[in-house]
Symmetry: C2
Subunit: 330 residues, 2 copies
């Protein structure tokens, strides 16, 4: 599957690093090798569901912005994409998803066993490949980020049905679940380009805030996105009792009576349409507008962190990539 | 849970390294720290189900045998035990097990989400802690072993119902699933004690063969063990169509007609008792005797690999530990 088939504007945006991303894909192809015929179809499957690879692009653009892409960046970008792939394999199983990028999910085409174990195998391969580098910076940073991803997901899962979840906890959960890997990608992209500590931390902060905006936008789309464009069912967070930014804003704007009426339907499987008309409609409109403003503000802060980046060209591309992440409509 | 409550004879055997194992447990306690109240019960649960810790004991005895225990061995032993714990959390989910060491399994006390994500978190923590060491030997060896464990388990899972599975494939699967971690523990125990390459490879070979015998014995007990002593249901491999050593020996000793009769019941959920009486009884007795002999032979080979170990005391303790592993009755 080519990148251009999925996101033409992104392909244009990443034009200057397309050969670097090709190198990452060749590196991944070499690492996704079965050692036994029984494993071949499973591993082939994982090779096939590469997505937009925005994390690999982030690593490369940060590297360019900090002084130049080096051979280590191929490994960093490849390992980051592997870890992301492992989380997707497990997420799809846990979410009971049917398809990813037009292909059956692993647990549907094979079984839950294969899904759990294949995800574990990808994690182990990722951590193995990280040891290719002469120092342990990549191993340590990505193991730490992965642990944070898992903790974020566990906390989010154990918070299901918690109508009173506050904003700080929500942000902490999405920072773990989604933003931690972008944060690590930024820090490592800078570090292996020879950036000093201050610049590394700015690139890490850019990644953290970009990842946070990305997840906030994802959560907003689940509430108000277009199902046809998204090519998946939406409203699942509301239906399953997962408290997200726009729902927090909606909840906190209601008077007590309305809030209790909202609570009564939260997580009961009710479709999101119950929010669109009737008593919640006006407050929802405000909540969505406020969420959009907060996402835009987070994107702005993310881009501001890049001001210290010495190279203007890659800086602008990173800003464009960041805006792409936080303003997707599907 | 203390070690002595579970295996008094093993405790006696490990007497000389009990303070080293205590240090591993203190190290593990420090690493199993929740960073949020929601995670505390899950992590407390994992802390509680420490088992016999034979892999940690192996690391320490190999280290003693190769010249002495160093601070690095605490990290190696701790990381090996964490990886083992992560595989158990996922195995219990996939096997639909109810209890482990008298405690509800994670997926029963919480849910499948928690089980998958907690296992992932333990893996990530293990790989993070491995980077505490100044070189990447431990990171690399244990990531490689973990990848092998996963591949072995995937292959075994995809072989379910394969009545014609041959011995070589069976051995390769259990070498991955079980023996690879013992092999890595042996290699790392020797390496961090300053052993030369040849001695490291002998300790790795000891671990590989000890782990193989351990799994062969486990598979034999599933067929002919005592359910009361095992405190779990047995016969599940036969019932679920998992081909193991004694079943391979039984199958290959039958004439064609009997073999087809066996095939017809393999993996159908039939209880193992159908093998104990009737047409298969005599061949089963031979197959079990042959399996026992093969396990004993594997144990012998495992112990022979230790002959090069310079220190006689730890060498004898390792031999005793190896015999313990391969001759358990539950």
């Amino acid at each position: 599957m080519t990148r251009s088939a999925q996101a033409p504007s992104l392909t244009l945006l990443l034009d200057t690093i397309s050969s670097d991303l090709d190198r990452v894909n060749a590196w991944l192809d070499e690492r996704y090798q079965p050692d036994h015929p029984r494993l071949a179809p499973l591993i082939e499957h994982v090779r096939g569901f590469r997505g937009k690879q925005v994390r690999a692009a982030q690593v490369m653009l940060v590297a360019q912005g900090c002084g130049g892409i080096r051979p280590e960046h191929t490994v960093v970008a490849g390992v980051v994409e592997m870890i992301h792939a492992a989380t997707l394999v497990h997420d799809d199983l846990l979410d009971g998803a049917a398809e990813r990028r037009g292909m059956d999910c692993v647990h549907r085409r094979w079984d839950a066993h294969s899904s759990v174990l294949l995800g574990d195998w990808i994690y182990a391969q990722a951590f193995l490949q990280a040891t290719e580098l002469s120092d342990n910076l990549c191993s340590r940073e990505l193991a730490r980020a992965t642990a944070r991803v898992c903790r974020g997901e566990i906390r989010q899962n154990l918070s299901a049905g918690d109508f009173d979840l506050d904003e700080a906890e929500y942000l902490d959960q999405i920072d773990g679940k989604t933003a931690a890997l972008f944060e690590a990608a930024g820090r490592l992209g800078a570090a292996y380009a020879g950036a000093d500590l201050e610049l590394r931390e700015r690139c890490a902060r850019h990644g953290l805030l970009a990842g946070r905006a990305f997840q906030m936008q994802d959560d907003l789309l689940d509430l108000v996105g277009d199902e046809d464009r998204a090519r998946k069912s939406l409203g699942t967070d509301w239906a399953n009792g997962k408290m997200t930014l726009p729902l927090i804003r909606l909840r906190d704007a209601l008077d007590e009576e309305q809030r209790e009426a909202l609570r009564a339907q939260f997580g009961t499987g009710a479709p999101r349409e119950v929010l669109f008309d009737g008593p919640f409609a006006e407050a929802l409109e405000d909540a969505v507008a406020r969420s959009r403003a907060e996402i835009a503000e987070t994107l702005e802060q993310s881009c501001q962190a890049l001001e210290a980046l010495p190279e203007a060209g890659p800086r602008q591309q990173l800003i464009d990539l960041t805006r792409f992440l936080g303003s997707r409509t599907r």
